[in-house]
């Protein structure tokens, strides 16, 4: 079966409001409009911007994980060739001397620690910015950084989030009392009763360690101040232009109407580029202060130190079950290493714990979530956003339950699934969006069954036996997930017919490769009956739409996509109303096609979009008739009532070389349900791409720190990203359970491949070793670590016998 799955057979949905009008573009695998420029090397990433006279910046960073700054001497550095200015904390405006705001505050956070724009007195992790050097060239700025003399008083560093909670542990900051950032206890049901009634109790602890997103393009910012107008324009390699603008307004005390953030092409985001970072404030401030354009482009080493990461996490899970294997309750203690700062509050561990039930009925849950500070780089959501860890813990414990009860792994899950007839299903938690976690649509049993069938799970035992006779260790594992997508509160879009008849879609959605421009053109084209080539889409420019949230959390198709749909519908109605008036017919007599509004029974009696647009923009003195308003444009901010839940099942088949520890994925299958698909080509691309991230999480990517909280794996030779030979061609099958929560019936699809991958792959590795008593409980599970586990268990000795 080809990668492109079954979309050739896919039925394009008709638009909800007009069953008579089939979609031409929605549901079709349309090629991307973004590609021509990118393929020719004409992308406009932030470092590509041609800014006349631009200055280049470099940040001097703390080499210590925890230290007090005694003194900083910039005299020699300031006089070096090409150095324009060096900024220290005292040079910042008062508004920039405060710590940065938290993206999502939560009352559970006892002590908020966020970054300073430049360190005032105490640095809390390796990489903290201490000075900002602006020079004629980057190499000259780096030379000057090397010449800045800083005296530090090194303080004890906290490197491990479990040790950090002990009374004897030093604190990450000399002025805070403990390293517990937040301790959230939540749950529902009578947990003591559930465990008292249980026939079986199955418990284990899982460790999922640090990793990063590592988009191929690092972070970067450029800014230009126009003294004639007082306008400050900031370009960024980011995911959230309006959020960046809001932060800049606060940090620089800037007039909101005089600040513009533009995000052009972004070479991947995956979460960490959502944050507002100190360097953006520094670049903007310097551009204003020096009245020269300034840019700072993060290098890869800096990215290792400063772009937010994810995890470590320890999950202590215990399930209470009936004799037959039905879950009665779950106890969970989760300890999360948030690093030295909470830029996104506690959202990621929160998403993690609330994702734990997955597609299973768990009547009773008790959670003790500990979010802990350490002197390491801050953590925030990376693709999957905490869910891969929850799925890992839940699917591993389910495998253990199956083993304990002597049940097939698929069967134990079937016993516990939320059934289709139970949908919509409230899993008991309050989700990150503040609403009850109600799974809207989905058929979990069918999804698992389809994936297992695709993977030929049922006859795997005989294949495994045959392989074992040849001395080969092959295994199969799978995992289910449910993911809340389409996060609110809104993402707006304006649809506007221009005076030349072309149509513009404007939105704050901020693509980093997702193909937003193509999707929005598809949706808009179908509402207005125009070809996609007549549509221009402008994204991520704060001057084009007043409010926005950004692109992350698989939210955009379900929010902005629906805004485009609704705005497009509204503009369609305006076109028809104005056309009816000018052509003197009723709306029902009209048709729209190719930018022309014509009378169905007499097509030559028509008005072009251009003509209509010009009329609608008004002529002095001429009033509009009733039912016609000015402008062929509308802005909609679709606001979902809650998240919409997509789901899927991943099945991995692996072969182990036990003597080297090498883990080869020989086959990878997924079933995936994101409701209606606007563009199946792009959805399949997201799934294949997110599977690659998942494979990285499973066996390759481990961000290592030492006991002094010094990052160790700070280059691509030590931090291993999946290469082409590490990622198999995934085989996909789609289900479609459209949602009722938005007009298009769509759900998110960008993270589904990542979420179950580590669970499925580690399950497969364990299955390959069946016959041993090994239970695997960590990710990434790297070959050297697998070898160590086998060695310590006496595997090699017993093999010789």
């Amino acid at each position: 079966m080809s990668l492109m799955g079954t979309f050739e057979n896919y039925q394009a949905p008709t638009s909800v409001s007009d069953q008579q009008r089939p979609n031409q573009y929605i549901g079709s695998p349309v090629q991307r409009t973004e590609d021509n420029a990118l393929l020719q090397g004409l992308g406009q990433y932030v470092d590509d911007l041609k800014l006349e006279g631009v200055l280049h910046a470099c940040v001097l960073r703390s080499p210590h994980a925890h230290a007090k700054i005694q003194s900083i001497d910039i005299r020699h550095a300031s006089s070096m060739p090409g150095v324009v200015k060096i900024y220290l904390y005292d040079d910042l405006p008062p508004s920039a001397k405060k710590r940065l705001p938290v993206l999502v505050p939560n009352p559970a956070i006892k002590q908020i620690m966020t970054q300073e724009v430049l360190a005032s007195k105490e640095v809390l992790c390796v990489g903290d910015p201490v000075a900002f050097v602006v020079a004629l060239e980057r190499c000259l700025a780096e030379d000057a950084c090397d010449a800045i003399e800083v005296e530090y008083e090194v303080l004890p560093a906290v490197a491990n989030c479990l040790n950090a909670l002990e009374a004897s542990s030093p604190t990450i900051h000399s002025e805070i009392a403990s390293n517990m950032a937040a301790n959230v206890k939540m749950g529902f049901g009578d947990i003591e009763q559930a465990f008292a009634n249980a026939t079986h109790r199955v418990r284990d602890t899982f460790w999922i360690n640090r990793g990063s997103a590592h988009p191929m393009e690092t972070r970067g910012y450029a800014a230009r101040f126009d003294p004639a107008t007082g306008d400050l324009c900031v370009w960024s390699s980011g995911q959230t232009p309006h959020l960046e603008k809001k932060n800049l307004i606060d940090v620089l005390a800037w007039h909101p109407e005089k600040l513009r953030v533009i995000i052009n092409d972004v070479g991947g985001g995956f979460g960490p580029k959502v944050m507002f970072y100190p360097e953006e404030a520094l670049v903007a401030h310097a551009a204003h202060d020096l009245v020269r354009p300034v840019k700072w482009i993060e290098d890869r080493r800096e990215h290792f130190y400063t772009a937010t990461q994810e995890r470590d996490q320890w999950w202590d899970m215990e399930l209470a079950l009936t004799a037959e294997g039905k879950i009665l309750g779950l106890k969970l203690i989760m300890t999360h290493d948030n690093g030295a700062y909470l830029p996104w509050g506690i959202i990621m561990p929160y998403i993690g714990v609330t994702t734990t039930p997955g597609p299973y009925v768990i009547p009773c849950i008790d959670v003790d979530l500990r979010v802990v500070y350490t002197n390491k780089n801050a953590t925030s959501p990376v693709r999957g956003a905490g869910r891969p860890q929850a799925v890992f813990a839940m699917e591993r414990i389910m495998d253990k339950v199956a083993h304990t009860l002597g049940l097939d792994r698929a069967r134990i899950r079937e016993i516990n699934f939320v059934k289709p007839e139970q949908m919509p299903y409230n899993n008991g938690f309050i989700y990150r969006d503040g609403k009850p976690m109600v799974y809207d649509t989905g058929d979990y049993p069918k999804c698992q069954a389809m994936a297992l069938e695709l993977a030929r799970y049922d006859d795997f035992p005989s294949r495994q036996k045959a392989a074992r006779q040849e001395g080969r260790y092959i295994g199969i594992g799978f995992a289910n997930f449910v993911e809340g997508t389409g996060l609110g509160p809104f993402e707006g879009a304006t649809v506007r017919v221009q005076q030349d008849g072309r149509v513009t879609v404007l939105t704050a959605a901020c693509p980093q490769g997702q193909g937003h421009k193509t999707i929005f053109a598809q949706i808009c084209a179908d509402q207005l009956g125009v070809p996609m080539s007549m549509i221009d889409v402008i994204t991520a420019d704060t001057s084009t739409i007043s409010m926005g949230i950004g692109t992350f959390a698989s939210r955009i198709t379900a929010t902005a996509g629906n805004s485009v749909f609704l705005a497009g519908q509204s503009v369609r109605n305006k076109v028809l109303a104005l056309g009816a008036f000018l052509l003197q017919v009723s709306v029902d007599d009209l048709e729209l096609h190719d930018g022309v509004c014509f009378v169905k029974s007499n097509p030559s009696h028509s008005k072009t979009f251009a003509e209509l647009a010009r009329v609608s923009q008004g002529m002095p003195g001429f009033s509009f008739p009733p039912g016609v308003t000015n402008g062929l444009e509308d802005t909609q901010y679709f606001s979902p009532s809650q998240s919409t839940y997509c789901n899927g099942t991943a099945v991995a088949e692996v072969e182990l070389d036990v003597d080297t520890g090498q883990i080869k994925i020989i086959r990878y299958c997924m079933s995936h349900d994101s409701g209606n698909l606007i563009n199946p080509l792009l959805v399949d691309g997201q799934i294949q791409g997110s599977i690659a991230h998942g494979i990285g999480n499973a066996t390759l990517e481990w961000m290592r720190y030492d006991e002094q909280a010094q990052p160790i794996s700070t280059n691509f030779a030590e931090y291993l990203l999946p290469m082409s030979t590490d990622v198999p061609n995934a085989q996909l099958v789609h289900l479609s359970s459209p949602t009722y929560l938005n007009p298009l019936g769509v759900k998110g699809a960008g993270e589904g491949g990542t979420i179950p991958a580590a669970a499925a792959i580690v399950s497969a590795i364990e299955n390959a070793l069946s016959g041993t008593d090994l239970f695997l409980r960590e990710a990434p599970l790297t070959p050297p670590r697998l070898f160590e586990i086998l060695y310590d268990s006496g595997f090699f000795k017993s093999r010789q016998l």
Binding site: C139, E142, D146, D299, D659, D706, M723, P784, F787
Partner: protein, 290 residues
């Protein structure tokens, strides 16, 4: 990540280069740049002078000189990898290069550069060791030849004095009927080996091992020739019965490298596993060619 300042020198003749290394202080020689430039970009290395040998044409070439294969220090890895002469005389070498990094690196990287960089995980010192390579260095004072077995002074430091330039490497090809194998374990395709092994074997009458060369990389600063194993297997028939000897001799290696990623135990087990497998392949090939 931009390099610190340096003065750039670009000799076009070997003589010029030798004069530079004799007189300049704190220099680094730029060969392929695939190892040096990353270190310079990270500012782990900040020489005052860079002497770029890429214009010194005398230092490239692949030739047969009587019983030796002679390769100029600046010969690109790609050319060695694809050379018919090398494939004919030393088939171990292209098999090793199949596992060296990626095409972009091999296009620029040089054999001489790799031997001077001397990463313990590198494949090139390993096959040079298996083939009893000899390294010719030159200075203004003259020329000397250093056996690969004496080439490593300590971790990533060759026996190349200040004022000397590595000019040629000569390898001793085995006869037409020998067997060979280069195997390594790396985390991903093209990564440096955690452990690698180069095996050469020749069989005599009755499939008895007449000659054997086994060299390991990734266990020590220098490639390790398992000379005791080689001697002990002479005269033995090349089948499964020699495997215990492989394990024992590797077990007997006293000091094996370790770091926070890969323990000594793991490396030792890899060495045993890979040597056994490589021997198996080499013996099959020797038998076929016999």
């Amino acid at each position: 990540m931009k390099p610190a300042r340096f003065q750039y020198h670009r000799p076009t003749q070997l003589r010029e280069a030798l004069e530079m290394v004799a007189t300049l202080e704190n220099y680094k020689i730029l060969a392929g740049g695939q190892s040096l430039m990353p270190m310079m970009n990270f500012r782990f290395v900040m020489p005052d002078h860079i002497i770029d040998l890429n214009q010194v044409k005398e230092l490239t070439g692949i030739d047969q000189d009587q019983d030796r294969l002679v390769i100029g220090a600046m010969t690109r890895q790609h050319h060695i990898h694809r050379s018919d002469l090398v494939a004919k005389l030393c088939p171990l070498v292209p098999e090793a290069y199949d596992q060296v990094s990626h095409r972009q690196i091999r296009n620029r990287g040089t054999l001489g550069g790799s031997l001077c960089h001397l990463d313990p995980a590198s494949e090139q010192p390993c096959f040079t060791s298996a083939l009893d390579g000899e390294i010719e260095v030159q200075s203004l004072k003259g020329q000397r030849t250093i056996s690969i077995h004496d080439w490593t002074q300590m971790y990533m430091t060759p026996a190349l004095d200040s004022g000397e330039v590595l000019t040629r490497i000569s390898l001793r090809p085995w006869g037409p009927s020998h067997g060979w194998s280069f195997m390594e374990y790396a985390r991903r395709h093209g990564d440096y080996a955690i452990v690698g092994v180069a095996v050469l074997v020749a069989l005599g009458a009755n499939q008895k091992i007449e000659r054997l060369s086994v060299s390991l990389c990734g266990v020590s600063a220098a490639p390790v020739r398992l000379t005791a194993l080689e001697t002990s297997l002479l005269g033995e028939v090349g089948d499964d019965r020699i495997l215990p000897a492989v394990n024992e001799h590797i077990e007997a290696i006293e000091e094996i490298m370790h770091d926070s990623y890969n323990s000594a135990t793991y490396r030792r087990h890899l060495a045993q596993t890979l040597t056994a497998r490589a021997l198996g392949v080499a013996l099959k090939r020797a038998l076929r060619n016999h």
